[in-house]
Each structure stands twice: as structure tokens, then as C-alpha cells.
Subunit: 286 residues, 2 copies
């Protein structure tokens, strides 16, 4: 199983998507933020995850914005964009574009409109995406976030897909927030598992995973990536304490998290435009 | 308030979307089915509702299929296609296309990926769609189906939108299945309300509504439209009995409903291709 031989262990950031005051994606701020996160210790970036308001951004806009990152010099081998939509043809379109841009992998949601799908129905959807993209470079990370999407990737489905396509369905991002589920994904031999929050960062590293994909990396990457450094240096007590501090800090951010983090960035960068969000989010009060 | 002056009272069908054996939308069967439903007493058609597997069909495919209906001779003044996606730009694209094709109205889902949106966030989304389409011919029917979409249009939001845009946000399709909710929508002065099932057909007509939009119209239109005819003729006891018969017949269809109805059509028409569905649905057994 090939996996991501080039992916170092560490913190991955699901990148916030900045919008200009007229609502379009701000390519300048996007590129600047991606560079900043890599400079702050992130080892990889997920454009257009839930944190990136992915489902509030149009298909063409998503492709253009990804191109802006790569054209701006972000190495596509550290990029794992979200490309999953509720239908096969548009998922193939977004995914094929990301593969063509050289991205290391893509995060794919289950078909999330129809509720309570069968296991076979989920498998049929993903296999249709794989067949539609038809590119040996395709590496899929299943994006499990049932509390938002309304549909998840059951562990049994992830196992069947990984066993049938070991070089293509390589991993899972588990944003369920439930460690029992994350541990069950880790039990699938060869599957790469990223917990979707820094809460399970050290547990995930302890299981041999590459690290976590955490929304708060957007505003707290130095602290969280520092936890990884301490862990890798074998300084486990200090890593535990640093993680507790990062978790405590997070509780001050407010909800909903995306507008709150954008407001914080607007303040830090003295750039009010950073606070912009797309509906159904509302701009957080200054 | 202009509403739909040309929409007669009666049964509206959310049209099933047929797929060829290679998976593409079957334009021939689609047009034939639309003509059949109008011939069986339906007064209007909703292409690409939930019954039409709308969210399993790509944006370009949806526009091409709608064009195929209109180019094939279906009067666009009886068409109310679903055009709501989770983001504004792609919703504007689909909606603008439908308005340009002369459709009487469009059904618009709330932005359904982000859960528990605020009322203001929902209003911001729809007002951005209205501004983006920017066409006086636009007539929006809010599509309320929270048990599938995961997000609904609260009655208070429908009221605010209708009061702010009385000639644009003209109605609600209430597929909640809860008559209390439907009745609350009817309480919004001037709002046109379609219950999303024949179960509430007579109640909706009794409140002065135009009728219902019912999935089973795809396979039982003569019986259901006959209920409307009896009601309009003042033969209320016979209408009640005919509706009970239609409801009883429905219980034999099996679940999930979309594959089951497609299988029934495949059998009736002796056309096995009609049974095809898109994932996450599975083809119903023969």
C-alpha cells in the first residue's frame, strides 16, 4: 500500500476561505493565509473542508481558488482539497481537477443529501467517482463528519473500500469527535486516519497516525504543531500539557467557530475583510 | 400579489428522472414520462425535486434535461423545477437557467449543508440568490423538507421573505408531512402552499391551496387527480373515499420509494431501463 510516503507527521489545517467585501473568494488573502499556516508549522493543508465553507462556494470558484494556491507557489504535494459533493458527475469534475493539479489526495464526503443510505449505495457512489476520475494518481481520504453532513462513512464501508482499492482509498478524516469511532477506523489495516480535532492529536499519533486535521490550526497553529514536536521528541508530559493548553485556549473562541475564527484573524491582521463569511453564516460581531 | 395566475388547482408531479443503462439521464424517457403525467391529469410538473434524485444529478445535466423537456414541447408555464443547492453561485446558475427557459417558478431548498443556521442566515442566502438572478420573472417556492435536507425553512423565515419579496417568494412546498406546520404556512397571508403528499391533498384544497405535490403521482396520477376532480365538483364524500383508496394503494409500493416506483414503471412499461437509479440508491429487485 503506497499511502502518502511524502506526508510527514504533524498538523494539517483545513484552510478558512476568505471573501472580498463583494463576496467573491479573495485569492490574495487565501494564498497569504496558506503560506502563513505552512510557516507556522502545518505540514499539509485541506482547502475546502467544512471549515473552508466548502459547500457555500460554487464548483467553478473552488477550482479557480485551488489553482490560485498552486499558481501562487503552494506545493500541491501538501494539498488535500475537499472535493465531495452530493452527486457523482460534479464530484468527478472537482476531483479530476485536483488530481490534475497534482494534489496529494482529496477528501470526499459521502453522498449526503439522501439520508440513511445503504452500505452498498455508499460504495456504489465512491466507486463511480473512482471510475469517473480514472487516474492512477487519485488518492481518496474519506471525510467522515456525520453530525454536519447528515451521512457518514461507516467503518465497515471504509474497510470494504480500502480492501477493494488499497492504493486509492487510502485514509479517513474522522471528524465525528468520537474516539471510539476513530479507534475503529485505526483497526482497518493500512488505513491512514486523521482525527478531525486536536483533541485526539496525541491519541492519533500514538496509534501511528500522521497527526490531526484541526479547524483551530487556522488561528493556533504554532501551539498545536508544537505539541507534535514535543511528542516526536519523546517529551510526552510536556506534549500533554501543551495540548491541554491548546484545548483550553480553544474554548475562548466562541461559536459558530468559522465566523469566530475569521473575526479573530480580522483583528490580528487589522483587515476587517477577513471577517466576511457566506450565508448561512453571519459575520461575527467585532 | 401576482402568484401563479395561470396555475390551475390540481395535482403536481415531482418527476422521476430516468437513467440510461450507462448512467446518463434518459432524455427520451424523461420527455415521454412528462407527457404521460400531464395526460394523466397532472396540472404541473416539478423536475428535479427529491423524488427526481435531484442532488444525485450534476448541475450541467440538470440544465440539459430541463431544456430537453421544453424543447420537446412541454409548456414551461407548467414547470417548477428544483434549483436549490447548498451554495449561492450554483443556485443562481440553475435558477437563472430555469427562469430563462420560461419556467413558472422554481423550488429552492435552504442551504442544507451547514446545520442549525440562523433565521437571518437563511434570509441572507435566499436574498443573495434573488439578487444574483436579478430577473423580474423569478418566482420562488420555498422547498421545506427538513427530514431529508437536514435544514428547513422555518415559518417565521417564510413569512419574512414573503413580506419582503411578495411577488418573488410566492409559495412553500411543505414536505414535512406535519399538518400543523402546513397549517402555519397557510396562515402567512398570500403565501401559496402545496403539501408535499397526497395525504394532505383535501386539507390543502380546503384551505384554499392549489393542491399537492406528491411523489406517487409518478405511478398513480389518474387516481390522485381524480380526487381533485371530485373535490372541485363538490362530491366530498366520494373525494374522501377516493383519497383513502389512493393512500391504501401507496402502502403497497415499498421503500425506499424512488427505486420502488421506478421498478413499478419498468414493469408497467416493459422497459427494464426505467428501474435504474443513481447511488446512494440501489436498483429495486425485480
Amino acid at each position: 500500500m503506497s499511502g502518502f510516503p511524502t506526508f510527514p507527521r504533524g498538523l494539517t489545517a483545513p484552510v478558512l476561505t476568505p471573501f472580498e467585501d463583494d463576496g467573491v473568494v479573495s485569492h490574495g488573502r487565501y494564498l497569504e493565509h496558506a503560506r502563513r499556516l505552512l510557516g507556522e508549522g502545518c505540514v499539509a493543508l485541506v482547502p475546502f473542508g467544512t471549515t473552508g465553507e466548502a459547500l457555500s462556494v460554487g464548483i467553478d470558484e473552488r477550482m479557480t481558488a485551488l489553482d490560485a494556491l498552486v499558481d501562487g507557489g503552494i506545493d500541491p504535494s501538501v494539498l488535500m482539497p475537499g472535493t465531495g459533493l452530493s452527486n457523482v458527475p460534479d464530484t468527478v469534475r472537482l476531483t479530476g481537477h485536483a488530481v490534475g493539479a497534482g494534489c496529494a489526495a482529496v477528501l470526499v464526503l459521502p453522498p449526503f443529501y439522501v439520508k440513511n443510505p445503504s452500505d452498498q449505495g455508499l460504495i456504489d457512489h465512491l466507486e463511480a467517482v473512482i471510475a469517473g476520475v480514472s487516474d492512477d494518481r487519485l488518492r481518496i481520504v474519506l471525510y467522515h463528519i456525520p453530525q454536519v453532513a447528515g451521512v457518514g462513512w461507516p467503518v465497515a464501508v471504509a474497510r470494504r473500500l480500502h480492501e477493494a482499492h488499497p492504493d486509492t482509498v487510502v485514509g479517513v478524516k474522522d471528524s465525528s469527535g468520537d474516539w471510539g469511532t476513530t479507534a475503529a477506523f485505526f483497526d482497518v489495516d493500512g488505513l491512514i486516519v486523521w482525527p478531525g480535532s486536536e483533541a485526539w492529536l496525541l491519541d492519533g499519533l500514538g496509534e501511528g497516525g500522521p497527526g490531526c486535521i484541526s479547524a483551530t490550526a487556522n488561528v493556533n497553529a504554532p501551539a498545536i504543531s508544537g505539541v507534535v514536536d514535543l511528542h516526536l521528541a519523546g517529551r510526552h508530559n510536556e506534549a500533554d500539557a501543551a495540548l491541554r493548553a491548546a484545548r483550553d485556549w480553544r474554548t475562548g473562541l466562541g461559536e459558530p467557530l468559522v465566523p469566530a475564527m475569521k473575526r479573530l484573524l480580522a483583528q490580528r491582521l487589522e483587515d476587517p475583510t477577513w471577517a466576511n463569511v457566506r450565508p448561512p453564516f453571519e459575520v461575527a460581531p467585532a
